[in-house]
């Protein structure tokens, strides 16, 4: 009987390890002393790619575009998503179920469909694709995730605090600014982080809407044909380390504010 209780935890560890295998490969190959254009066979350890991460000027340029778009798209989508989340979590209104369905669709739509439909619209309107069209597309696919993230936070907190504020003659705006917003802030921040991560990582929708502009994933896709420079792995690893630190920092901050409340 005893060994059977250990089965599930062992499976859990194995599954998580499986999730991390490609991550470890990406990290390992940023240290690969590869010969020639391709970086697919392990040939020895070197730090040279880390010392010269931007050997290919295309990398830093694409990375810059990705980061700026992610920042803007996540910010816009978080604002729009937070407003929708407030409506869904705090009010009962006609059209609520239609709103839920409408919000689910962008999450379930395959990226090719979303990307091709946007490109179709831009072609029909004769709008040139580039920075702006990528930004518009990214906001679109982040909104629903932002709604879900913020809504989870609003549902979790005590409604009575808002009612107390209203009883004390705060108007709706003051109640929102002084009570609701500080309470849901961790959710809003989490939505921003998630949106940022989704945007930086997106390839398919971006590929349809980017025209000649290159984000980091679009650059990687192009490079995959002629051999990916190991510096791409360096940048991928660095992105991983930075975002993991940001996430851990956020979780600590959230825990601490939760402890303060208790």
């Amino acid at each position: 009987m005893r060994w059977r209780r250990a089965l599930l935890p062992i499976y859990l560890m194995a599954a998580l390890t499986y999730m991390f295998i490609p991550v470890m490969v990406v990290i390992a190959f940023s240290f690969n002393d590869n010969q020639g254009r391709f970086n697919v066979v392990w040939q020895g350890f070197t730090l040279k790619h880390w010392l010269d991460p931007f050997a290919d000027p295309g990398i830093i340029e694409a990375l810059g575009v990705s980061l700026v778009i992610a920042m803007l798209a996540a910010a816009v989508a978080t604002v729009l998503g937070t407003l929708i989340a407030l409506a869904l979590a705090r009010y009962n209104f006609k059209g609520r179920s239609a709103t839920n369905v409408l919000l689910f669709f962008p999450m379930a739509t395959p990226e090719v469909v979303m990307g091709s439909s946007l490109l179709g619209l831009f072609v029909a309107l004769r709008v040139g694709t580039g920075f702006l069209t990528v930004l518009l597309a990214h906001v679109l696919f982040i909104i629903s995730y932002a709604v879900a993230t913020v809504r989870a936070r609003i549902v979790g907190f005590d409604r009575h605090l808002e009612e107390a504020a209203m009883d004390l003659y705060a108007n709706e705006w003051d109640t929102f600014r002084r009570v609701t917003l500080p309470m849901i802030m961790p959710g809003v921040f989490a939505a921003f982080l998630l949106g940022f991560a989704l945007s930086v990582d997106d390839f398919i929708v971006t590929n349809f809407t980017s025209g000649s502009i290159q984000t980091f994933p679009v650059y990687v896709w192009g490079a995959a044909r002629r051999g990916i420079p190991p510096q791409v792995n360096v940048v991928g690893t660095a992105l991983f380390i930075i975002t993991v630190s940001a996430m851990l920092f956020f979780l600590r901050w959230q825990r601490r504010s939760a402890l303060k409340k208790a």
Partner: protein
């Protein structure tokens, strides 16, 4: 009851406030839903228009109600259609088989490590998707450890046995990419289950297996369904895995849409294929909403 009906003097300020309050949710929804309308619904409608056009890039396109464009999805592109369906179903079943026990382990055995385990499950997403898929190309490579092991135990033929450029590699890539999308909704559903129900079934002498099939599984079904939707649909439309891990013999619907839109420039065909995929989703979502309701959709 009659007190309410009595002609009490109506406070006009309170009435205006109530009316304003009723307007608030719509004002909150307006900007976001307007955005979805302009950049989600209108493009889909425009895609529908495009799918019914005929012509070519040089001469221009004209709306001639070419319903035949949709037919070619089932004739010219039947292999891609069938592969998309097959890979998607295969990947979804494997992800479900892997993801359910994973979600179960986190929900019921995670204890105080639950949040950490969820964070670990999602952490690989912080490495760009393309790089992780390219990493699978290294892992499944012809002289790699996985292929050699499979040859040793006889799962692959010794001569020219390979994984890359086969449907198996594409399915493996899809399974990896969508496992968290399957696991999370199931976890959320399992987490909500009232633990006293399971204790009660034990008190009534149900074996653990009976308790699972009579209590846990039915209550987790909403999670299973949304996980299945979130895996099966995007997997059917994916073209990254078939492009990077497969060969031209593994192309899916997504590959056709991509090449028709971005390299061959045949908008009507691309639009009709894309729209067929979309139609499949609408059907799936409608079935889901009818069986589960709309509140759980984006929770």
């Amino acid at each position: 009851m009659t007190a309410i009906a009595a002609p009490t003097p109506v406070n006009p300020i309170a009435l205006a406030a109530a009316r304003r309050r009723r307007r608030v949710p719509y004002l909150l929804l307006l900007p976001g839903l307007l955005y979805l309308f302009v950049f989600y619904l209108i493009p889909l409608i425009s895609l529908g228009r495009m799918a019914l056009q005929s012509g070519n890039l040089q001469a221009g396109y004209e709306l001639t109600w070419e319903w035949e464009n949709f037919l070619q999805v089932f004739t010219t592109y039947r292999p891609q259609l069938l592969r998309s369906l097959g890979y998607s179903i295969g990947a979804t079943l494997i992800t479900l088989a892997l993801g359910y026990p994973l979600a179960y382990a986190i929900a019921f055995r995670g204890g105080r490590w639950k949040n950490l385990l969820l964070v670990l499950l999602l952490m690989p997403f912080l490495v760009p998707f393309l790089l992780r898929t390219l990493a699978w190309r290294i892992i499944l490579a012809d002289q790699g450890l996985v292929v050699e092991t499979l040859k040793t135990i006889g799962f692959l033929p010794d001569a020219n046995g390979r994984l890359l450029a086969t449907g198996w590699a594409v399915i493996a890539g899809l399974v990896y990419a969508f496992l968290p999308f399957m696991t999370l909704p199931i976890y959320v559903a399992l987490e909500k289950i009232d633990r006293s129900l399971l204790e009660a079934s034990g008190d009534l002498y149900a074996t653990p297996a009976t308790a699972f099939f009579k209590v846990t599984w039915p209550l987790s079904l909403t999670g299973v369904i949304s996980g299945t939707l979130l895996t099966a649909i995007p997997a059917a439309g994916d073209y990254i895995n078939s492009q990077l891990l497969g060969s031209p013999a593994q192309t899916m619907m997504g590959n056709v849409v991509e090449s028709k839109f971005l390299s061959i420039i045949d908008y009507p065909s691309a639009a009709s294929i894309s729209l067929t995929l979309m139609l499949a989703i609408v059907v799936a979502v409608v079935l889901y909403v009818r069986s589960v309701g709309s509140e759980e959709l984006i929770a």
